[in-house]
Amino acid sequence: MSSVELPQAARIHLPGETGVWVFILGDMLMFALLFAVFIYYRSQDVGLFAGSQLTLNQTFGAFNTLLLLSSSWFVALGINAARKSLGKISARYFAATFCCALAFVVVKVFEYGEKFNAGIAITTNDFYMYYFMLTGIHLIHVVIGMGVLTFLWHTARSAELNEKNINVLESGASFWHMVDILWIVLFALFYLLR
């Protein structure tokens, strides 16, 4: 590949290192399966799923969507700042991203708590099985993502912002964008789908 020099415009910049896309694409494949299974079982019993959906708290869902969309914006700003060698500013953006993630987790705890108080659990019905399973698996990703964001914050703050480290930052940011995009699909499937 290196022997053929492509013109600048023809090169595609893959954010982050190539290897991280093995994880991202593999994980998205797993979620695609989860979504497909949800849609299949929903089509078998639309009444139950639509009825249960009405008991979800749309405000929590919409607020969390807003939080993750903002977090994706912050992480992108952080990468931009890092590319301009503004390590301190970049780190601040990553800290803001982390705060959005933390707020997401807190909202989710309240949302789950509200359900448990209403006597709704993972075994209540099929809709709630998928709701708790899929949002729960996603929440694990958010928590892993908070670890990744802490690492990004630390790297941006203390490491030299050379090409290699920016590549590392991009890898983490790509993971975070995946966490965001998966939530957007989840939000649409669980809270909005009619």
Binding site: T18, V22, F23, M30, T123, I137
Partner: protein, 233 residues
């Protein structure tokens, strides 16, 4: 260095994957798994009508489970090349992997006990069958830890010539994530999260055995590369 011993340990993955699959699938007939939704009498009938195949299948599964130990060792030896003297991830890999082997062995023991006296009361056969499947599929946490420490070690490789490619590190992290839903089989008797469902059985089963093949290929490559280095002992 002991290239031959390492290669033999790496090759252990192949008889394990092949014979374990033969034991659980055509012999014991556990593919797809016996549904957790079956009644005690239905489970007992399966064990009574297939006593010999289940006993033989469990024996084959038991015979090949030990191969995993040798395979864990060769992963550890190659991880140690990454980590050096204070090889905490390597040790975590050995301990978590070993407990994983125990889960396979206990599952096989439970199935054997169920098939050992098929004339006993159906409830007891069902109980042993349940214990077998739950041991086999719910014990996800050690496998998650094992895959994560392998992944982290590979991604943290500071060698000028990395022992493994970096994508293998991310692949291991992904494999770990796919095992997480397994723990939730405790809530369900039907559907995709029951122990015969897509996310507790099919996805982890396929990912688990493909992990053996992928790791085998990459370990073999790493061992051969190590043997070609002039100054390794």
């Amino acid at each position: 260095m002991n290239k031959t011993s390492q290669l033999i340990c790496a090759w252990c993955a192949i008889p394990f994957a092949i014979f374990f699959t033969i034991g659980i699938w055509p012999l014991a007939g556990f593919m797809p798994p016996l549904s957790p939704d079956l009644s005690a009498l239905e489970i007992a009938t399966i064990y009574r009508e297939n006593t010999l195949p289940i006993r033989t299948g469990a024996l084959i599964m038991m015979s090949t489970s030990g191969f995993m130990c040798a395979f864990l060792a060769v992963i550890a030896v190659q991880m140690r090349r990454i980590e050096g003297r204070f090889d905490v991830l390597t040790i975590a890999q050995i301990s978590s992997g070993t407990v994983g082997v125990v889960a396979f062995i206990v599952a096989t023991v439970a199935w054997t006990a169920a098939a050992f006296r098929p004339e006993r009361s159906p409830e007891l056969i069902q109980l042993l069958n349940d214990i077998g499947w739950i041991y086999f599929l719910m014990t996800f946490s050690t496998f998650v830890v094992q895959d994560f420490v392998v992944g982290f070690a590979i991604l943290g490789d500071k060698n000028a010539e990395p022992i493994f490619p970096r994508w293998l590190g991310y692949y291991n992290l992904w494999v770990g994530v796919t095992f997480i839903p397994g723990g939730l089989l405790t809530f369900f008797k039907t559907g995709p999260f029951a122990w015969d469902g897509l996310f507790v059985w099919w996805v982890p089963f396929i990912v688990f055995f493909s992990w053996y093949v992928v790791m085998f290929v990459m370990l073999r490559r790493a061992i051969i590369a190590q043997s070609e280095q002039p100054l390794t002992s």
